[in-house]
């Protein structure tokens, strides 16, 4: 297919430019060949493994917490106008707050251990999850609800057979968006209190090892894209429709 | 004068037209009917110059069609008005592209807005208008450029039955004044018989002209006098039979 050919040709061109730029630009840039070699070295020597593992743990804990809190809260706000009115202001205030600006505060509260990282990841992800779920639940078509009630579904049955299935696609979308945010939070936290990827990046930056630094960035990018795509796959497979949510 | 000679149009794997030949004489009103997927819109787009044939020739006055242009103006099923322009702005669009000076342009556009019965709506946006009104703008836009040929792609297909009837009447009245060459695509047999001099029935598999029906009714056509005649019913049946023979059969 010519589209795939375009992609390959284009990527080859990009790689060629990168290689040329890297060789011409001197010590502060690295050609793609050097970055790929560095990546290979990081994996073969195993040096990336410990940071990767510890980063994933921080990510997972914060993310799961964000989902465990965010989905119910979002659903509650979606189903209950009272809860929505009460909580809405806070969610929006936190949504527009730069979590990064809270880092100096979070150190004081959570220390510099695992709790800090989990808190940052949690805060990065949870408000997006809440708002996505809330919007999705609110947008469940009234016509569906009416139809359910016409055929005798009320109370718990209504939730089980109409509201929950109808809102499912948006919950899955929220999981995807939350995961992406959680990865970002993980990197932010690890660059503030050096750990995992953050500490690798920091040490490579200190010694101006641009090729290794870019190799770590590449790994992070692959991780972020991989997680997002995996959840997008789940979304396509199991959600009966896909949802576009403004980011 | 329009003519198509043995025209084939293929998209990827889909054969939209397979050996279509037809002519439309000057000042003739020809309707093309056919089931969905028979390529009637494609045929129109070829004459409009929006696409080119895979094989065969599409000619206007003996010359092959080279591209779109206002001399073959088009009226679209989904209206295709520019939402950011007012009614007047839409009607004047073709004149603007032709670099007609502003005063003349505005005058001509206003005349056509009046002719299609939209006085007072010159400054309205398409979003504020009903479907029928929007198509009147579409008609005005097409007629304002004084085209040689009018290409109409199921222009009333998106309208409700009453509005459709009204606009059919108006089209007949407009056409009575200046008989332009019209190629009119529709899936509505009765509409075709009411409006046209000749009806071409396009079949499927292969996609080509299956039947040509001469419409004998005299002009000016009055619906009530025309569509209650036996002749009308007979022609309608004839066309319907051709179409039915060409319907894709559901696979068991």
């Amino acid at each position: 297919m010519s589209r795939r050919r375009n992609l390959l040709v284009g990527l080859a061109l990009v790689a060629a430019c990168w290689e040329a730029a890297g060789r011409l630009a001197g010590p502060s840039f690295a050609p793609i060949s050097a970055v790929l070699l560095a990546t290979l070295d990081l994996y073969l020597s195993g040096r990336i493994l410990e940071p990767l593992a510890s980063s994933l743990v921080r990510f997972a804990l914060g993310y799961l917490l964000a989902v465990a809190v965010g989905v119910p809260v979002g659903a509650l706000m979606g189903f209950s106008p009272t809860a929505d009115a009460a909580l809405d202001t806070y969610v929006h205030v936190f949504f527009v707050t730069s979590v990064a600006s809270l880092l100096p505060f979070l150190i004081l509260v959570a220390g510099t251990g695992l709790g800090f990282y989990v808190a940052v990841v949690f805060l990065f992800a949870v408000f997006h999850v809440v708002l996505t779920v809330r919007t999705g639940v609110q947008q469940v078509d009234d016509a569906l609800v009416d139809t359910g009630r016409v055929f005798g579904a009320e109370g718990v049955a209504l939730y089980r057979h109409v509201l929950v299935p109808a809102a499912l696609p948006v919950v899955v979308a929220a999981l995807r968006i939350g995961a992406n945010r959680a990865v970002k939070g993980m990197v932010v936290a690890e660059l503030w209190i050096y750990a995992g990827f953050g500490s690798l990046l920091h040490s490579y930056q200190r010694y101006s090892q641009i090729d290794y630094a870019l190799a770590v960035v590449l790994t992070i990018a692959l991780l972020a894209v991989g997680v997002t795509q995996a959840l997008a796959w789940v979304e396509r497979r199991y959600a009966w429709t896909t949802v576009e949510v403004p980011t | 004068m329009l003519s198509a000679r043995d025209v084939r149009k293929v998209y990827d794997d889909v054969v939209a037209l397979d050996g279509v030949s037809l002519t439309v004489d000057d000042r003739e009103f020809v309707a093309v009917v056919g089931p969905s997927g028979c390529g009637k819109t494609t045929l129109l787009r070829l004459f409009a110059g929006l696409e080119s044939p895979t094989a065969g020739e599409v000619l206007v006055d003996g010359d092959p069609v080279a591209g779109p242009g206002p001399e073959r103006a088009m009226v679209f099923q989904s209206f295709n008005l520019f939402p950011w322009r007012s009614v007047l702005g839409n009607v004047a669009f073709g004149l603007e592209m032709a670099r007609v000076p502003e005063d003349e342009r505005e005058e001509r556009a206003r005349e056509w807005v009046h002719t299609v019965g939209l006085d007072g709506f010159e400054d309205a946006r398409p979003a504020e208008l009903s479907g029928g009104m929007r198509q009147r703008v579409g008609l005005a836009r097409a007629l304002a450029v004084d085209p040689d040929v009018l290409l109409m792609d199921e222009p009333f297909g998106a309208l409700d039955a009453q509005t459709r009837a009204v606009l059919q009447r108006e089209l007949l009245d407009l056409w009575a004044d200046e008989r332009k060459t019209i190629l009119f695509v529709t899936h509505d047999i009765e509409e075709a018989l009411l409006l046209a001099d000749r009806v071409l029935v396009l079949g499927r598999d292969p996609n080509r002209v299956e039947r040509t029906v001469e419409v004998p009714f005299e002009r000016p056509r009055v619906e009530r006098d025309v569509d209650t005649t036996e002749e009308f019913a007979r022609l309608r049946r004839e066309i319907w039979d051709v179409l039915r023979a060409n319907q894709p059969t559901p696979t068991a």
């Binding site: 992609l7 106008p81 | 520019f82 950011w84």
Partner: protein
């Protein structure tokens, strides 16, 4: 799921905010509570640092310069790039996956790399802001231009529109709302990029304001900084939203 009347809703929201503010105020005043500053103290600091001594104000304005430069760059690159990707199939095939991938990546990870590239310069901060904002601008522009219905371009061509009208009017006017959405979202991203630059590249006045407040346990000042940044973000997005409202 019956909706509340607007008045009830407003009342509930106000009540909820007041209750939390009151609880916060009371709790923060308790002896032995160091990690929370009462809202009144935060307000006091805000007034002092924004209006009276203006330390925070100057810090914000100074950091804002980098943000504006980075944002302008993001718009200047992002809008044409988005249009190109939308209109040219080969560009779309190559750049769509790359743009989507970069949009999903934690761009903060680039901060150490940017330091290597640019050193401790303003250019580094401008570049980081640019990187934060450009993808959202590009992707939205692309969506807007790609969504122009073929019926409209057909009509334009039939009635004699040349390239200037086709692109300068039809594509531009139709895509404008979506492009502006991208600009609005980009403004929010630019502010976040600005904060990231202060914290992860090197701290100027704004970064120092936040970091020093944390180091000296000056919670009220810390909250003041966070709050003013939130307000700044809202204002930046609001400014573009105003332009959006005017133009659509």
């Amino acid at each position: 799921m019956t909706a509340l009347s607007p008045r009830r809703r407003w009342a509930l929201r106000t009540l909820s905010v007041l209750v939390i503010l009151a609880a916060w105020e009371l709790y923060a005043r308790l002896p032995g509570v160091f990690l929370l500053a009462p809202p009144t103290a935060v307000l006091g600091v805000l007034v002092t640092d924004l209006a009276v001594e203006r330390t925070l104000l100057w810090a914000l304005l100074s950091a804002l310069r980098n943000a504006v430069a980075g944002y302008a760059l993001a718009v200047g690159v992002g809008v044409p790039l988005g249009a190109l990707v939308a209109l040219w199939q080969p560009a779309r095939d190559v750049l769509d996956p790359i743009l989507d991938a970069l949009h999903a990546t934690p761009l903060v990870a680039l901060a150490p790399v940017i330091l290597i590239w640019f050193g401790l310069t303003s250019a580094a901060k401008v570049f980081l802001v640019f990187v934060f904002a450009v993808f959202v601008v590009t992707i939205n522009t692309r969506a807007g231009v790609a969504n122009v219905p073929s019926g409209l371009t057909d009509a334009a061509r039939v009635f004699g529109a040349g390239a200037p009208t086709l692109y300068g009017e039809v594509y531009l006017r139709y895509a404008l709302p979506q492009v502006l959405t991208g600009l609005r979202l980009g403004a929010g991203r630019a502010v976040r990029g600005m904060v990231a630059a202060e914290l992860f590249l090197f701290a100027d006045d704004l970064g120092a304001y936040l970091i020093d407040s944390g180091a000296t346990f000056d919670i009220a000042r810390l909250f003041a900084g966070v709050a003013s940044l939130s307000v700044l973000g809202v204002l930046a997005v609001g400014a573009i939203a105003l332009v959006e409202a005017r133009l659509t």
